[in-house]
């Protein structure tokens, strides 16, 4: 399809899987962190804020190296997840998803946090006086009102996850069919003379995916805006 060979097609499928898993798994975490940072005050808040944003400012290779040290086979967290959940990250597609998730997290937290901060706490207070417990206030008032922010965060996170290269290749290398996502496949193809056209096809594929994601999110954003304002 689209003139892609088996390796290229594997890369596209793997990229979609990795980006999708990374985004879906990060969303609840990002939502919780955004809520903590927007609505709570606690000791170490600015440290947490800095930690969340670290992958945004660090060179991706450094983030990949940190993941390798922490989640590698002999890394403390790597061993923990292996023994407790039987989940291995090193040189697996799950590791690529983890790298993509860590890189996408700050973008998602930022978008959602801004959306939460834009919700008037007085509306939440009014809901409480009408008998709504805290959890219901969140699901019936806060959540619907921040939906556009969540969508923006998800789109940015997904795009970041799809395009992640530095941390991924440092952490899980570029194993065709296992960890070779579109960006690392393009990179590998460009290392070999005569593979330019195969690389170009993947580049086109990546561009189409990105454009499709933008259109989908625009369409969703319009529908959500309609539901919120009723206009």
């Amino acid at each position: 399809m689209w003139g892609l060979d088996a390796t290229g097609w594997d890369a596209v499928q793997l990229s979609l899987k990795v980006a999708l898993v990374a985004t879906v798994a990060t969303l609840p975490v990002a939502l919780w962190l955004a809520w903590l940072l927007a609505r709570r005050s606690f000791f170490g808040k600015s440290a947490l804020n800095a930690l969340v944003h670290l992958p945004l400012v660090l060179p991706p290779v450094v983030t990949g190296y940190a993941l390798l040290v922490l989640f590698g086979r002999s890394g403390p967290l790597g061993q923990f997840f292996d023994t407790v959940f039987g989940l291995e990250f090193a040189f697996r597609w799950t590791g690529a998803a983890l790298a993509a998730a860590v890189m996408a997290l700050p973008l998602m937290v930022r978008a959602i946090r801004l959306a939460i901060e834009a919700v008037d706490p007085k509306l939440e207070a009014a809901a409480a006086t009408l008998g709504a417990p805290k959890a219901s206030v969140f699901t019936t008032i806060t959540l619907p009102l921040i939906l556009p922010g969540i969508l923006a965060g998800v789109v940015m996170g997904f795009a970041k996850a799809l395009g992640e290269f530095g941390a991924t290749i440092t952490f899980v290398a570029s194993i065709p069919g296992e960890t070779q996502t579109i960006p690392s496949a393009i990179y590998s193809l460009l290392q070999v003379p005569g593979q330019e056209s195969a690389a170009a096809r993947l580049v086109l594929c990546a561009a189409l995916l990105a454009i499709a994601a933008v259109f989908l999110s625009e369409w969703l954003a319009r529908r959500i805006a309609q539901r919120i304002s009723g206009a």
């Binding site: 008037d120 509306l123 207070a125 009014a126 006086t129 009408l130 008998g131 805290k134 919120i228 009723g230």
Partner: protein, 359 residues
């Protein structure tokens, strides 16, 4: 209903220290901005925990040093100055919001609320398309349908212009008589309070300086400094006797009659009039050749010298109290003394039709 609240709270330079025991009906909290009115409301509804305080409602403790019942379990229906309708829900969904959490039915049905507040045509609209007055009516309905034990209204009309206020006040009067729900009504507008309240608490710098039945408090000259000289004026009950073809209505106060422009009430009904102290002129003899139609024979019941050049005089007119404000110089020149009889002249146009309340 019996609510008792004792609140001590301090933030920055401001300290709140008061004891409230509002009785049934509408209790107005009156005070300038910064007097602590909204803080009291937020302590009652649980949104603010004061430094110290106790709140009990019908014998159930909502707040003391150990207990702090969260807002969603207090069943205090709140109406805020800025309606706070949920923008992503339409009017019907806003109205029903509290119903799903209520463990018991409201005393008033959904259909009654919609009828009472005239919401039928608005049900499918979104808050963003409503006028300020419509928003406030929806907010009141939403609070009523959450099965509240009482209503807390925090400056519900303050953000509205005069025509919108005039549009909502009749709804509030109906709310009071139709539901019988105890209401705490916060306002800095004596016009609203005079129309609605049964009792009043005057707040000043975080203290409740005066509390009592509205008719007593407003006719007591001692309270003028608390109300402000321009706001001072007694509230009197009058009965509508007839409506003249020339647009002038005749009302009776005890044995005396009063002619006022177009009173919007049926013949035989009782209305409440607030006659500002500065709109009453006193005369020793019944004047003649005067444009003012209302000359009431009155007895002076007390004279209170103010801090400035004015004096407040309480009058008995046919069993109802009036309050007049004249200069101390006039008191001296006319030789006014308690128990003296004289004449109070009330200009008919001094009582605006929209300042007349029911009951």
């Amino acid at each position: 209903m019996s609510l008792e609240a004792n609140i001590q709270h301090r933030f920055g330079d401001f300290s709140l220290d008061l004891n409230l025991e509002p009785s049934a009906g509408v209790t107005a909290l009156f005070g300038r901005s910064g007097s602590g009115k909204s803080t009291v409301i937020n302590v009652l509804n649980g949104l603010l925990r004061p430094d110290h305080g106790t709140v009990t409602l019908d014998g159930v403790t909502l707040l003391n040093d150990q207990i702090n019942v969260p807002p969603h379990k207090r069943r205090m229906g709140c109406v805020f100055q800025d309606a706070r309708l949920f923008p992503h829900l339409n009017v019907a969904q806003n109205l029903d919001y509290g119903t799903r959490f209520a463990k018991q039915n409201s005393d008033i049905s959904r259909a009654q609320v919609i009828e009472l507040l005239g919401l039928n045509a608005l049900l499918n609209r979104r808050p963003s398309t409503l006028s300020g007055g419509e928003k406030q009516r929806v907010a009141i309905g939403r609070a009523l349908l959450s099965a509240p034990r009482m209503l807390l209204m925090d400056e519900p009309l303050a953000a509205l212009d005069a025509p919108r206020k005039a549009e909502i006040l009749p709804y509030l009067e109906r709310l009071k008589t139709d539901t019988g729900l105890p209401i705490i009504y916060v306002s800095h507008s004596m016009d609203e309070i005079a129309r609605l309240a049964d009792n009043i608490v005057i707040l000043r710098d975080g203290r409740a300086t005066t509390q009592g039945p509205i008719f007593d408090v407003l006719s007591d000259p001692k309270n003028i400094p608390m109300l402000g000289v321009r706001e001072a004026g007694a509230l009197v009950r009058a009965k509508v006797i007839s409506h003249g073809a020339d647009g002038i209505s005749t009302l009776s106060i005890g044995a005396e009659t009063l002619d006022l422009p177009g009173v919007d009430a049926t013949v035989g009904s009782i209305v409440r009039l607030r006659i500002l102290a500065q709109d009453i002129i006193l005369a020793l003899d019944a004047p003649t050749g005067l444009s003012a139609m209302n000359v009431l024979p009155v007895t002076i019941t007390s004279i209170q010298d103010g801090s400035g050049p004015g004096a407040a005089i309480q009058l008995n007119a046919g069993g109802e109290h009036l309050l007049a404000r004249v200069t101390s110089r006039s008191v001296e020149r006319m030789g006014l003394k308690p128990q003296m009889t004289c004449y109070a002249i009330v200009k008919a146009m001094a009582v605006a039709p929209e300042a007349i309340g029911h009951g």
